[in-house]
């Protein structure tokens, strides 16, 4: 049976493809998810995806993933830089967590350079656009010992 992976997108990521395309590219959120699913399936993983602009919903989603999913791939959007509540929710999650950013936060405004989520993630990937999601999915498979 396929391992279930939660892919969570934080605030403003529903605008992917429309918002500041010179930074975020023209692929839509649907494109991202379709792409991640295509990578995940042959690796034996089943992706459950959600996007929310509400910090509380993201926390609920993470709680809900406990005991029923094998890993979380999260792009916390702007909550990356301030949400200790998401930090605490992820700290209480027993599986692997991979943080993904589409653009490279270190090459942008200073306030984007701090992640309060990173300390509770297994690893993080940034700046690789849609390829970052592929890499997160593949890395998750490796961490879970799955083989194609």
């Amino acid at each position: 049976m396929a391992s279930r992976i939660l892919v969570v997108h934080g605030p403003n990521l529903n605008l992917l493809g429309e918002r500041e395309p010179e930074i975020y590219g023209r692929a839509t959120l649907a494109d991202y998810v379709t792409h991640a699913r295509a990578i995940a399936a042959p690796l034996g993983m089943d992706i459950e995806d959600h996007q929310s602009n509400h910090e509380g919903e993201l926390i609920d989603l993470i709680h809900n993933a406990r005991g029923r999913t094998a890993g979380i791939i999260i792009n916390p959007g702007a909550f990356t830089h301030s949400s200790w509540a998401i930090h605490d929710a992820l700290a209480a999650y027993e599986g692997h967590v991979i943080e993904v950013h589409i653009s490279n936060p270190d090459a942008r405004e200073p306030w984007r350079r701090t992640s309060v989520v990173a300390p509770v993630a297994t690893g993080s990937i940034s700046g690789l656009g849609i390829h970052g999601y592929e890499m997160a999915v593949r890395a998750m498979a490796r961490l879970l010992g799955l083989t194609e």
Copy 2:
């Protein structure tokens, strides 16, 4: 013809497998390079690898990669946090740069949380151990438009 990729390892990474295995694991640097090569070959990339504890040599290596390689994958070790000279060398490099860290610097000492190299990298990957190198190689292939 295969695309040439420079893989550079900074200070103390020659001790991989021996040094603090609870943080860095038991794979040696040779294991890392062998693994990266195995991933790279079918993707049409040829890896040139170097390790040095000398900041100046790392800069020379980056300069030397100009005009003759398609990308750089770099783990700058402790120079990550202070070497503006490596920053400047990478800024002068015309290809893609992917920064890799074996452990998750954000989950360790505070001084490991700042990368002066990241602002001039296309992207970065951390905390995924030896899988991080696989992902860096695959991501480089994607950035270069290579297909298996």
Copy 3:
């Protein structure tokens, strides 16, 4: 046809008229909106107003205003000082944004002196109480080239 303007009020502004009247005055939120509408109508603007204590709802409201409103007048309340997510939502909005504060944040606690929203606003108005909303509405009309 009248230009549609979104007027958004952030957390605790539903208590206007009740909460700390020595700072915020005795006019209620309804009074504010009625007043803004009375100014807007003869200037050819139609006001759509919302208040929410939920950061996520404010983001949704801003997203929803895309492509269908001519401008946003926003009083982000205490989110002014920390919500990079609202910052990102406004950055993705194509029209003019005017930030309004009823009291003068610079004359209060130090933490009220920083606005993370201001960098993505066209302009901001503070300390003028209910008159600040009149001025925001009039300024929006000027920015949109409307004439009475």
Copy 4:
């Protein structure tokens, strides 16, 4: 007639008993509330309890308590350290506010050492586990002049 007291639990406290038991112990949120109720009843207080991972809901709850409750006992979880919006909501509340933390935030990560809620609380209690809630309930009774 019993005085009504609002007991509010912030993000991740629904996981009490499951999450990091070495820090938070094995009692569940239901245990906490039952315990608080048992202490409150003979002191003439009636407890209304809520938990939410949504900052906006916490604000709504605090607003809703205005004019109908005699005091608030709040454990704001990770919102303790960043939510000026909850600060403003509590500042607009006319009764006593007691802040409670299960663990001792001063003995943990540096970012847990700052409370933006404390300046608008009458008092605060931390590090005493489930006993902290008993003490908060008893202290509230004292502040309200209630006698067993």
Copy 5:
């Protein structure tokens, strides 16, 4: 009889229309004053205007306005960020003070984000170009209880 309002422009504002027009626009200082006067007259206000590059002259002007004017509209230019002496002069002024900035200081260099004048102003308006002066004049009328 018309209420007298002092409009003061600080350093470099004599270059309006010539200096960095991509930031400050092409209207000259004379245009600004003419525009403000046109708004003020029907509202029953008489504008007295001055520009100076000398901090001392600005202080003298503010002192001189005591007891003889009903309000001050001030654009302190670069003195906004450092002149505690102007702060003290305005603090000693008994009428309303409105601070105006043509561009949005929060969207520019970090040092432009701090105003030492704001704490002693009734309110402030920024980023609205020449319209900001109209709004300042109108707001002053409101604060003075004048009606068209």
Copy 6:
């Protein structure tokens, strides 16, 4: 046999009832101790109390409590904010430590917001006036497993 508890009061607390009664109330130190004793006795605890304006004496008292008392309730007064020596003395104490403050330090001057003692206390209670001592005594009983 009753458990012995050391209650220690730091500098200036001998002035309780006389000093700034709008902050500290009108109860004297003797009132505080009498009140604490009245709560402690039925809970099976015997209170030994001391007040000193001398940091060294406070350290000596803490040392002297080693091996012969079951817990310490300490109000370190202004030493709260600077005495690493009291921190070290408490760290060397084997029993429970509860830190108490009569007023709410977080609602006062910034320098009162840092406690160097808190990291070595089991818990802390502040802002509850004389009730805070009752709560500290009761909490100590709970930590010691005493029942009325």
Copy 7:
């Protein structure tokens, strides 16, 4: 022959007696100077006094005092906190310099707690109102070895 002493008053001190009398009292600048002269004369000192709101004029006055006065008593007003140019002018003065403040800057806003002038003054006196000037005059006499 009497020793000549320059007494310099900085910005806003011309408003003494009118401005914020709860802080600065009701004595006017003329009262201050008359008082200082009355103290100085029997001690064999002749006071030359100036007030200016212009930093440049204050610098010119200090330069002009070189070689022809025995000491300077200066109240730099708000320039105290920022004028390195006055600092440099006083550093180039060969006689004694006494800095005087009417109110106690340490009991007011944080920015008033730093004096850039103090490092080049022989001494400073603050918080003593008009008596501070008497004390400055008497202290200057002592430094100059004058006897009544």
Copy 8:
């Protein structure tokens, strides 16, 4: 009957005349006190003097002065920069407090530039050596309305 004034000297001031005479001069503590007494007597003040290297003793002395002295002249030595306990003791004193420093702390090491005592003093005098004590005594007489 003469007004009683407490003159308190903090740590290391017993070494006056011996310690770093290039900074502190060659007059001994006895000389200082004799000089202060000589000034005080004809002004109708009686000086009670103490020196201690113990922070606790200084606090006891200040407490003991309550209700029985008309003012305190204090040179807190190195405690100036850190003793919030002395700050609190002086805050609880009902009379005038004048802080004196022999040398000019602003012209020495950075850590000498902050006084935690100053905010609770009426005024302060520094850098004037033994004359500073004369001026403190005279200023105290003025504050007490005494005349020679």
Copy 9:
């Protein structure tokens, strides 16, 4: 026809040769100007020189140089470290600006290490005494394409 160059000297530079000669040397301002003129003439440049202790005059001089001079050589004295108004005036100047300092600010007090003027200068020269002016004049000639 010779290119006109404005040479501006800021506060206290009128004291050159008299003030702190161990830092600034014994050459007077007149010597400096004569020397600069002697270098400039054969290079085809005509020097207009001004010194002022008034920030406002320096701004007026810079404004006045617009459209009629080919470059500005400025030694802003102590205004270097704080005058954003001079910064703005130079930013509005269309020609080249060279900042000169006689001594080496980086080898002196910390506050001399920051120049707010430097970001709007083409280049800067410091620590070379009177030779610095020669070099500034020669460099200006090079920037203007003048040849001897």
Copy 10:
């Protein structure tokens, strides 16, 4: 005749051997002193030792050592990080001062990394446990030119 050396131990060092033995080891203070004496005697030094938890007593001890001892070896315990008064006392001591720490403060909490005593010590030794005292004694002998 033997040179007299003062060995001073600060707060909490009386607990050596009992307190946190995993950090400080199991040797008692008496062991430390006996060991130091055994090293000192053949080198011609006579050790006078004191321990105190009172900052004031430590200052008195240092004063008392003036003129009658050849050197001081001091372990200031937690006063290391805050006592400018001990700093001043040591600065007034004419002989050599060696600071000793049993553990390595740089490998512990951040606040232990700053020594306010170090700037007035000849040298310091840390992290070497009881051997550190031997080394301090031997180094003192070398500084005093003593030979075994």
Copy 11:
């Protein structure tokens, strides 16, 4: 005989003319050296030039220049901002040192605004491109008293 001058170029300066030409221009390092030599020769100076990307080699070069060269002109590249080791090497050099930067570091990233080398240089020149080297050579000649 010509005075020997060491001209040292730090990391990445070997890329001059190729790297970021919009910042550094199109002249190569060879062009720079040829130009400096052409200026130096008629002034009686003989230039020895070196470039290295190795901090250690730069230190060796500076050491090697001791006792055999009359001055050093150094562009430390990115080591400017961090190399205290180069700082120490230059501090041990007995001749004049002039620091040169091609671009204006104050107009670039914040981290380029601090030079740890400047405090041990006689002077520095920046922002003048290749002319900066001419000026450094000419200034060195002046400092050495050489005449054309």
Copy 12:
């Protein structure tokens, strides 16, 4: 067989005896090593010494000492304050590390007060000149359990 100890000297220490003798004394590096050897031999230790100005060489030396030496005595010179790479190399070394400084860094410039090497050293010794090396050698013997 003698225990092998690596003694490493960092940048600029090859200049000992020549460079700033008022700080570092007149003994040369050879004198230091000879002295250390003379102390080490009778204690059963054999010293291998190296000096390098190259950070990379120092790292190589530390790596090379792994598994073949019993301890490292290191004076990292200016790399003390910035080299996290040397920190990491020492962290990977299994034996004891003693850090030595000839002068007292705490009595010099602020940047010399931070050691990034200290957290991974067993202990450190500073300010004792050539005696510091003797003490480091003796302490190493003690840590290794060697007896004369």
